[in-house]
Amino acid sequence: MSLRSLTRLANLGRPFTFNNLLTSSFIKNVNNEIRSPLASSILCRYISDSLKKTLDETVQKNDVVLFMKGTPEIPQCGFSRAVVQIFQAQGVDLSKVKTLNVLEDHELREGVKEYSQWPTVPQVYIKGEFIGGCDIMLNMHQSGDLEELLLKQGLVASDEELEKEE
């Protein structure tokens, strides 16, 4: 049976929309067996135009955006917690970090993966640019690249500036 006829079967009696197609438990089962280029191109259409616009604005308007599970105070996932701790270690003012809890919003949780072309959460954006997830943040933290980037973008004060303040 072709994927198309299967899809048709699954959507009998339902208005045809991409969301319907994706939320049906059927397509999830099918995913185990059929991962055709078509299936992934359908998945790419998951994110709605309005969500994409919201995310564009969020990422552009805020210096640092962190998509995470839970909140900085109560992270619900070890990887999200690690990213928050890296920001703290770097001296980034957490009140200036825009955090979005993907556990509160299912559309956001799935949409942000599509938006960033990145299958996992947490995700970090700095000055509108996608930086990566927990591994990359940790890697950049250890190599010194993160400090360099944060200094360049004026998100943390340099040692000289700190001395001046004192």
Partner: protein, 120 residues
């Protein structure tokens, strides 16, 4: 103890052996190993199944799979000239099927052999 002794020893050992084998190289583990080996021709590939560390998490409460959390360290020349995001995306893409069906978290270390020798 009494209940265990109802079964002949041979069956018990077999069961223990099988369950241990599962955590070491289940089907997802083997898929990850095969796909990364084929595509990246790695000089070093380490895959660790850490699922047991996360099995008590709230998000895992309805999940029976023993293959949800993995840590992979790959050393491959295919990463040459690629930044971290590109390297991670390459691996995520290769493991797209596993990522969308079973794997909940994948921790990645992706280096070239040149970078390994420089850091040591």
């Amino acid at each position: 103890m009494i209940r265990l002794s109802l079964f002949p020893k041979s069956i018990r050992t077999k069961f223990v052996h099988n369950s241990r084998k599962m955590t070491e190289a289940g089907p997802i583990y083997q898929n990850i190993q095969r796909k990364l080996t084929e595509a990246l021709n790695p000089t070093s590939l380490e895959i660790i199944n850490e699922s047991h560390l996360h099995s008590h998490h709230q998000a895992m409460k309805d999940v029976t799979s023993k293959e949800t959390h993995f840590r992979v360290s790959v050393v491959s020349e295919h990463f040459e000239g690629k930044n971290l995001i590109q390297r991670h995306r390459l691996i995520y893409e290769l493991l797209n099927e596993e990522m969308t069906t079973s794997v909940h978290a994948l921790s990645i270390k992706a280096k070239t052999s040149k970078e390994i020798s420089e850091s040591s």
